[in-house]
Symmetry: D2
Subunit: 110 residues, 4 copies
């Protein structure tokens, strides 16, 4: 697969990195942080895998698609958790994580 | 400075990470790779600093602006090198690096 | 400065990345997570800057030393916060952050 | 699996990140860089996957082992390429990549 075909997925992964890091940091400022710990944990895992996936795609690695599969899984779990909270940063994070999961899944189908 | 104010700069940094990694990998496939070594080296340095800068901004770190200053410097040096080559990936990289340098400089002025 | 001279500092930065990420994740499991939020936040900032600093040193970048300066500052702030907590992961993190800060400062003196 | 059990593998991954980035940068300075392009490309892919794997382990992620599997594969391919070159940095990189692959494989067996 070419870089051009990867580009939407790279963009989705990098946006997801940003939004996950922002969500983690914002959750830490919430009064009920005790209820946000799983959200923060998954944000951090999701940011890590999304960045690596974006890197392998940007580098045109033949292993990029294998990472897309795990990335989609973690993005979906992070989205499922974020969806349960009503803060703006969690809602945005849930949405962007799902978009990223969808883009990663699309890579696997090609 | 708030996350909202950072957002353009975060986007610019993350696009720069992508384009620099793609440029490095593409330079490695050029026939005259011996002429591209400085470009590849700077691409890798630029990708590293841009990612860290984006992370600190996404996290809302008080140190983000200090990193923006170094990021702008490295982006400009990478752009200056890329501009000397005529491959599409180098030209695109030069352009995106300059946009990133400009966004980082804008952060410093606020 | 050569890679050989950098090596102790690279090792210190990478160990700091590991210990900061571990501390952040462990803090999230503490019952009094409400008291650990600044620790988690600084852990994440510290991990981000330490990784970028290690990368620029591994790549032999001329900008590595400039990043060492900011890295030492963030490591010290993270250590100061971690030192105030009595969990094993915070104590270890405080110690490793100080070692990293010292190694980064040593780079600046050469 | 606990952080304590992961620690050897985290150390191996982070050392591999360092050595791969150093090998890539050193290859760029070799006179016969035209023969080193596959080595540089795999160094960059290997550094990216090793860092993500270390991060997921440091964070105690349940997905860490799935990433260890892909990490071992890429480390082995990078080692196979590096082994074909006689520069010190390539020889060291081949050795450290194999150690990292072995540690990652050990994680899968537990």
């Amino acid at each position: 697969m070419s870089y051009r075909e990867y580009r939407n997925c790279i963009d989705a992964c990098l946006e997801c990195v940003d939004v996950c890091n922002h969500c983690a940091s914002s959750c830490l400022k919430e009064q009920n942080v005790g209820h946000m710990t799983r959200c923060i944990q998954l944000d951090l895992e999701c940011a890590a895998i999304c960045y690596a996936t974006a890197q392998l795609m940007s580098l045109g690695s033949q292993y990029a698609r294998q990472l897309c599969s795990l990335c989609a899984t973690i993005c979906r779990e992070c989205a499922d958790e974020c969806r349960m909270h009503h803060n703006d940063h969690c809602r945005e994070c849930a949405e962007i994580c799902m978009e990223c999961a969808d883009e990663c899944t699309r890579m696997l189908e090609q």
